[in-house]
Amino acid sequence: MNAVATKLVRTRPRVDTAPLWIRAGVTAWIALLVIAPVVSLVLKGVAAGPAAFWHAVSARGAVDALWLSTWTSLIASVVNGFMGSAIAWALVRWDVPGRRLLAALVDLPLAIPTLVAGILIIALFGPQTALGGFLHHHGFDVAFARPGIVLALLFVTLPFVVRAVEPVLAELDPAEEEAALTLGSGRWLTFRKVLLPPIFPAIAAGMVQTFARSIAEFGSLAAVSGNIPFKTLVAPVYILGQVEAGEPEAAAAVSIVLLAVALALQPFAAFLARRAGGRRG
């Protein structure tokens, strides 16, 4: 009886609220808007042949820029792994005044334009400011230097781990944590054995998302990194430099590398998100 009912529900015809011409229009729109530019970008990168492609991506400036992007993104991912989990835990478990403000703050980087994020860091740490001048006097630069790059990345990627971990944590029963604590395991042991295993895929998913965003980040870094070749020039800003130097083929070649990284990370991120089980917030 039950099986029959399920079958009936399954075979029920769908109501087609969208007739065929709408499907055709949507397909054409997406194809033109997305496929055409991306395909032309990739073709431009490989048009001059494999030797030219290799020459463009193995140029010293390109390799340095890709490496700088990679390690600053890794730092941002690791810091977010820790801080993002802690913030998510605080948002879910604690009923403190100002919790809603905290939640809004975490989403702020999603709304603030990325270039403005860079300007914010300049406004605080720029060479003309009191703090920036003081730090410079003591031999530590933030704006137009590598610490500024990491700070900007942490700003723009702040929500990723928090929003990945939060829904998973919300579904866990706090009673388990309390039971572990009551039974005498320390806070650290409780965290490691009870809390961490179920939320680990979510943390990893947020970290992969952080890395993917960081390696592609442009606006904030164009403002804050100072763009000194071989020192503070990240890959996306290097691409801009190649475009401005009249080398679109080289720019497209480095773009292909970044695109390949992003596409390689996507199934990995999707797998982790599925393992995490929480719904997208």
């Binding site: 769908r14 997305v34 055409a36 905290l102 989403d107 334009p113 403005v116 300007i119 970044l258 992003a262």
Partner: protein, 269 residues
């Protein structure tokens, strides 16, 4: 015994909480305060530099592009979500993946892609030449690039709601004799309203703040393709910090307003 055990972690918890507040303050609040302070301190210069024709043109272009974007994304977002959620056809999954592709591109790559497509010897250059307008280093390029980067937002938010509400109500309406258009207007549209408003807000935020793509494809030419963000970029390069800080504060304020609206909406859903 249990009471005593719980009190100790609470002190530790407070420490963690304090650390989080300190981290967020250094990362977000203090820089925001520094920007406000910088604008207040140079207020005269800020007003003077932001009341120029160039600044007004930049803000105007950004607003017009954003308005076109939320309209087109509204139409194609709803249609796209309906097609991708409710229909099953060959190539659906591919189309679905394409919608997220813009998220995988660095904005500077988006700008470059449109520049290659419509620039000198670009594949679509003859078409736009024939139609008598230009895309590279012109406002249509700014619009196209912004449409590209905002493509997923409305569509995904509407699709999320469509999946949640299912099609029972639409079926009922159809059974009761409503036409496809009536069903859409009376049943589907009210149902997806929450997703539509969230998606539109996200689109607006991104359109107002898009920088890399419009810089590369538009070139940030004053009084022509310069947007609010590329205006900031030019001001920084010309060492006109008051103009940069002032425009940045305007964009930040708009972003915060949109965020508060979003939080309000999500709380209602």
């Amino acid at each position: 015994m249990v009471e005593a055990k719980r009190r100790v972690p609470d002190a530790q918890a407070k420490l963690v909480f304090g650390g989080i507040v300190a981290y967020l303050s250094v990362l977000l609040l203090v820089p925001l305060a520094a920007l406000v302070l910088a604008v207040v301190r140079h207020f005269g210069d800020v007003v003077e530099q932001l009341t120029s024709g160039e600044a007004f043109h930049a803000m105007g272009l950004t607003l017009v592009v954003a308005a076109i974007c939320i309209t087109l994304n509204g139409v194609f977002g709803i249609a796209g979500a309906l097609v991708l959620v409710r229909q099953r056809f060959f190539g659906r999954r591919f189309l679905d993946a394409l919608v997220d592709l813009p998220l995988a591109l660095s904005p500077v790559m988006t700008g470059l892609a449109f520049l290659i497509l419509f620039g000198r010897s670009g594949a679509l250059r003859p078409v736009v030449d024939l139609l008598g307008f230009s895309v590279a280093f012109a406002w249509p390029g700014v619009l196209l690039a912004t449409l590209f980067v905002t493509l997923p937002f409305t569509l995904r938010e509407v699709a999320l709601v469509l999946e949640e509400v299912g099609d029972h109500e639409e079926q009922a309406a159809a059974t009761l004799g409503a036409s496809a258009w009536q069903t859409f207007r009376r049943v589907t549209l009210p149902n997806i309203y929450s997703g539509l408003s969230i998606g539109t807000t996200l689109t607006l935020a991104r359109a107002l703040g898009e920088f890399g793509a419009v810089l590369v494809v538009g070139g940030g030419i004053a009084n022509k393709t310069e947007t609010a963000t590329t205006f900031i970029h030019t001001a920084v390069e010309e060492r006109q910090e008051p103009a940069a800080f002032g425009m940045a504060l305007i964009l930040a304020a708009a972003a915060i307003a949109l965020l508060l609206f979003l939080q309000n909406r999500k709380a209602k859903v």
